[in-house]
């Protein structure tokens, strides 16, 4: 809709950009952004405006303000990965996905906050501090929350965004941008999408280029897309997908961007409900929402079947081994020699490396490096790494079997519960939390499958609950079509934020979530 507005001249790109920048300032307490690229954004907006004036916009994304997670390289704009190791690091090149968005005329507002090096499920473990879920300040949440004492204010009760792409999710959720890039290795786009009430798409591995995405686990990472509605996700996907010669893991087949049909008849659809996703710790609320969703499909005429993915319970352990091993390898380049933080220690090269890495990385990163190196030792390699790869194959095969049996799309919860208060969340360490929270999202990364979170309902506490659809490899069109139908059925409410109301503009006034398509 905003795209149409831009085209019709109802609003100009510079106005839009300024609105967003000003909203970012007034929602600073969310800590969603690490770097705000005000100058360059305005320049981009001006250029876009020129194009609209001449009637020559580059496409639907021209002039649309976007944000990018701070683990994507952006030329000339600091890229930190929320780590001391890369504080002040200005990359000389743009990640392919960033370049593609810029080439389409999108306006890059800034880099969003995350868990350090994307390791975490809360967006609480970066050096710039935790990200706050905008819903913490929504009327919906405040109405439902009972203050324990009158001295307790909104400051202490806020809930997390989930992670690790929490900044991007919060940015989209709080209307400071219309789309954002995240990354997804074990659920890092879908998890915060669920907690922040936005659409979070994890594309099939190999569909979108990872060139310029600072890797966590090369064999599982994908750039993730966060938007306010499914149609928008399809538009962004269309501009990003396709072979990149700079990334040898992208498929060669040509990709055709698609528009999503408005599905009315779901009778030919087969929805699978994997029983193993009724995981320990799954809240009663989420279980109920999941059930209701299944009924929704059934009542509309779709075939809804229970299926089994028997190796699901092994995926967390398997993921832990493979993830830490790749982390240990990927982090080896951070030695302070070529770029990034370098310690003052001058005794020897080795001591400089050690000091640099101790100073530059937080405990979470260092912990994973140590574990990963342990698993990669010659005497352990077969037992752990190779074993985990074999288990990974089994997990992927579970999905293949289920899809082969006629199921089109799987329906599962995205998270175990709604967003936890920060104070509760930090009671357990990162590793524990990750193990708990990744359980529903991470198998899709193991198998390389596309998956999407669709905001479904509000919890009793007034916080978003989302459900996940997992599709067949490279069948994003089918996946998103189903997701769009579901989105239409559930009519998830718009977040009611004071700050947004103050920045009243007809662009933001909708009954449905604001979108740009």
């Amino acid at each position: 809709q905003v795209s149409a507005a831009l085209k019709e001249g109802r609003v100009s790109p510079t106005e839009l950009c300024q609105q967003c920048l000003s909203l970012i300032k007034s929602t600073k307490f969310l800590n969603a952004y690490i770097t705000i690229a005000e100058e360059t954004a305005l320049k981009q907006a001006e250029a876009s405006e020129e194009r609209y004036k001449r009637g020559r916009p580059l496409g639907v994304l021209d002039g649309i303000p976007i944000a990018v997670k701070d683990n994507f390289n952006t030329a000339g704009i600091e890229t930190t990965c929320a780590s001391n190791m890369l504080r002040g690091y200005i990359s000389p090149y743009n990640a392919t996905v960033v370049q593609k968005l810029l080439d389409q005329g999108a306006v890059l507002l800034g880099k969003t906050n995350l868990d350090e090096f994307a390791m975490g499920s809360g967006s609480t473990d970066g050096v710039f501090g935790p990200v706050r879920n905008p819903w913490s300040y929504s009327r919906q949440y405040k109405e439902k929350s009972v203050p324990k004492s009158h001295s307790e204010d909104k400051e202490s009760n806020w809930v997390i965004t989930g992670g690790s792409s929490g900044g991007s999710a919060a940015a989209v959720s709080s209307f400071t941008c219309f789309a954002a890039l995240g990354s997804d290795t074990g659920g890092s786009t879908r998890n915060p999408a669920a907690h922040c009430g936005v659409v979070g798409l994890k594309p099939t591995y190999g569909l979108i280029s990872r060139h310029g995405l600072i890797p966590l686990v090369n064999s599982m990472d994908v750039p993730g897309i966060l938007t306010r509605c499914v149609d928008d996700a399809a538009v962004v996907l269309g501009s990003l997908a396709g072979h990149d010669p700079k990334d040898s893991t992208t498929i060669q087949d040509s990709f055709k961007p698609f528009e999503l049909p408005n599905l009315t008849d779901v009778s030919k659809l087969s929805i699978g409900i994997p029983k193993e996703y009724h995981a320990p710790g799954l809240s009663g609320e989420i279980l109920a929402v999941w059930s209701k969703a299944a009924d929704l499909f059934r009542n509309a005429g779709a075939k809804v079947v229970e299926v089994s993915l028997p190796h699901t319970c092994y995926s967390i352990v398997c993921y832990h081994v493979l993830c830490t091993a790749e982390v240990a390898s990927n982090m080896a380049r951070f030695d302070g020699l070529e770029y990034g933080h370098r310690s003052d220690m001058k005794e020897s090269t080795e001591s400089m490396y050690a000091a640099t890495r101790r100073e530059g990385f937080n405990d979470v990163v260092r912990g994973r490096i140590l574990s990963g190196n342990y698993f990669l030792l010659k005497q352990n390699y077969e037992k752990y790494f190779v074993k985990a790869q074999k288990v990974r194959r089994l997990i992927a095969n579970d999905f293949v079997k289920v899809f082969r049996s006629g199921v089109d799309v799987l329906l599962t919860p995205t998270t175990l519960s709604d967003a936890a208060p920060y104070k509760e969340f930090i009671k357990e360490d990162n590793r524990t939390r990750s193990a708990q929270n990744d359980i529903l999202t991470q198998a899709a990364n193991m198998a390389g499958l596309p998956a999407i979170n669709v905001p479904t309902a509000l919890s009793e506490r007034g916080l978003p609950i989302g459900l996940q659809f997992i599709g067949r490899s490279f069948q994003e069109q089918q996946l998103l079509t189903v997701a769009k139908w579901f989105e239409k059925q559930v009519q998830f409410p718009v977040i009611q934020l004071e700050e947004v109301k103050r920045h009243d503009h007809d662009v933001f006034q909708h009954e449905k979530s604001a979108s740009f398509s």
Binding site: F72, N73, T79, C81, L86, S91, P92, Y93, A95, R210, H211, G212, L213, I214, P215, V217, N218, S219, P245, K246, D247, S248, T249, Q252, A325, E326, A328, S329, M331, A332, R333, F334, D335, L337, E338, Y339, K346, T349, E350, Y353, N373, L376, L377, K378, Y381, F385
Partner: protein, 463 residues
């Protein structure tokens, strides 16, 4: 004293001759200003990914075929981790699990008894050839307590050729490496110039008594020429024998060859055994090669490598060239070795043969003895020879027509060598070296001599 059996294996790194590096587009060039040929990927900037260079794969396939290897239609890339200043990513991309070529052989020849007259052919098995990245260079500046790092070489493509321990002495090792060098240069897959670091050889040496298991081996590094290779290997064999005969033991260590002292010394840098924590390289899919049979019908020619296509286009290898020379010109095998051993010499020889009526079997002596020794004396390459093949052919024609004697010919050659632009005929005339063909004239001269020296003639006739 029980005899000792020395066992020598080699690990050879050959820099691939290509325009750009193995996984990135930066240029490959010797002696460029420091850090001027470094791409983002070479510098290990976060987020960069490797992209395989087709030319490097072709070079490895050519080399594998030339060495009679099986080319693996599917090979894999791995990461080998260790921390060092010249390794920006903290790991090297190599092929540890499944390399591109395996199970080949290399035949080489040696002269026995130091005579060029008897050559014997030996074979060494090639265990494998793998593609891997070269590291950068680091220079230690002890006076300022700093290390200077130049990443120009980081990421250049290497072929590691592993030769099984089938050799027994320095001479064999040297001959094998020399033959490999010639093969690589003929293929063009590597320029293989040791002095420029394009060919690096590490030797694995051990000794044992016949019938007993192999002894502990040491690795010898820092060998900068083929001559030093032979010396280093022989020294190490001797050192091990002496050590063992004196009741000592051999440590499984890495030693450096000191060319000034002519001995091997333990290397201080290498501490203990490193665990390289090998891991598959996740950013590179398996390397798939095709042959005529397996090539899919509508595959883009740009995207695939056809092993058979490469095989068909391999140039004549040195061994084949030598056979042809022997057959075509009737020269001895050792002559063909000498011809191929010097860059451009075989071509020179063939050009001379074409331009002269002298039999090739006679020409060879002139080329190998006279010309080559001149070149060696003055440290010139064949290309730099002041005597061209045409000039030499002219000279040999005079000799063939018996217009001069062979002693005179050598004199003319010495004069030609000065490179003053004179033709052989001009020199002959200048120095009055022509043989007299006229019998009558000869008779007159002889008679004149006899007349002048009457007494001596009588003495001679009497006995």
């Amino acid at each position: 004293l029980a005899p000792w059996v020395p066992v020598v294996g080699l690990e050879i790194h050959a820099q691939i001759s290509s325009n750009s590096k193995l996984f990135s587009g930066s240029q490959v060039q010797f002696a460029a200003p420091p850090n001027s040929l470094v791409s983002f990927f070479d510098a290990s900037l976060p987020g960069t990914l490797p992209v395989l260079n087709r030319r490097c794969v072709e070079a490895a396939v050519m080399t594998g075929l030339a060495l009679n290897c099986s080319i693996n239609k599917k090979s894999l890339f791995d990461r080998k981790h260790y921390f060092y200043a010249d390794l920006p990513a903290g790991y090297q991309i190599t092929q540890q699990r499944v390399p591109i070529a395996v199970n080949g052989s290399l035949s080489y020849s040696l002269c026995i008894d130091n005579k060029m007259s008897q050559m014997v052919t030996k074979t060494v098995r090639i265990k494998q050839i793998q593609l891997e990245q070269d590291s950068g260079k680091s220079l230690h500046d002890d006076t300022r307590s700093q290390t200077l790092v130049d990443l120009n070489r980081a990421g250049v493509g290497l072929m590691e050729v592993v030769m099984e321990p089938d050799m027994c002495c320095g001479e064999e090792a040297a001959a094998a490496v020399r033959e490999l060098q010639l093969i690589l240069q003929t293929l063009g897959s590597s320029q293989a110039v040791m002095a420029e670091g394009q060919l690096r050889v590490d030797a694995n040496v051990s000794v044992h008594h016949p019938g007993e298991p192999y002894g502990v081996r040491t690795e010898v590094k820092n060998i900068n020429s083929i001559r030093f290779l032979a010396k280093a290997v022989d020294y190490e064999i001797q050192r091990q024998i002496e050590e063992l005969e004196n009741g000592g033991t051999i440590l499984n260590e890495t030693r450096a060859f000191d060319s000034k002292l002519g001995c091997t010394v333990p290397m201080r840098d290498k501490e203990g055994k490193q665990d390289y924590r090998f891991m598959p390289e996740p950013n590179l899919p398996p390397l798939i090669l095709y042959d005529a049979k397996s090539l899919p019908a509508n595959m883009n020619h740009q995207q695939v490598i056809n092993i058979d296509w490469i095989h068909e286009r391999l140039p004549d290898l040195p061994s084949v060239k030598r056979e042809k020379l022997v057959e075509q010109y009737g020269i001895l095998p050792e002559h063909s070795f000498a011809l191929l051993n010097e860059d451009g010499l075989a071509e020179f020889y063939e050009n001379v043969v074409k331009q002269t009526r002298m039999k090739p079997k006679r020409v060879i002596g002139w080329v190998l003895n006279d010309l080559l020794s001149y070149l060696k004396q003055h440290s010139l390459t064949v290309k730099e020879s002041p005597v061209s093949s045409a000039l030499l052919a002219d000279l040999l024609n005079l000799l063939e027509k018996k217009e001069i004697s062979s002693t005179a010919a050598k004199q003319v050659l010495a004069e030609l060598w000065k490179g003053e632009g004179k033709t052989p005929l001009e020199i002959v005339k200048e120095q009055k070296l022509q043989l007299l063909q006229d019998e009558k004239e000869l008779e007159q001269i002889c008679q004149a001599v006899i007349d002048r020296q009457e007494n001596e003639v009588i003495m001679m006739v009497l006995g």
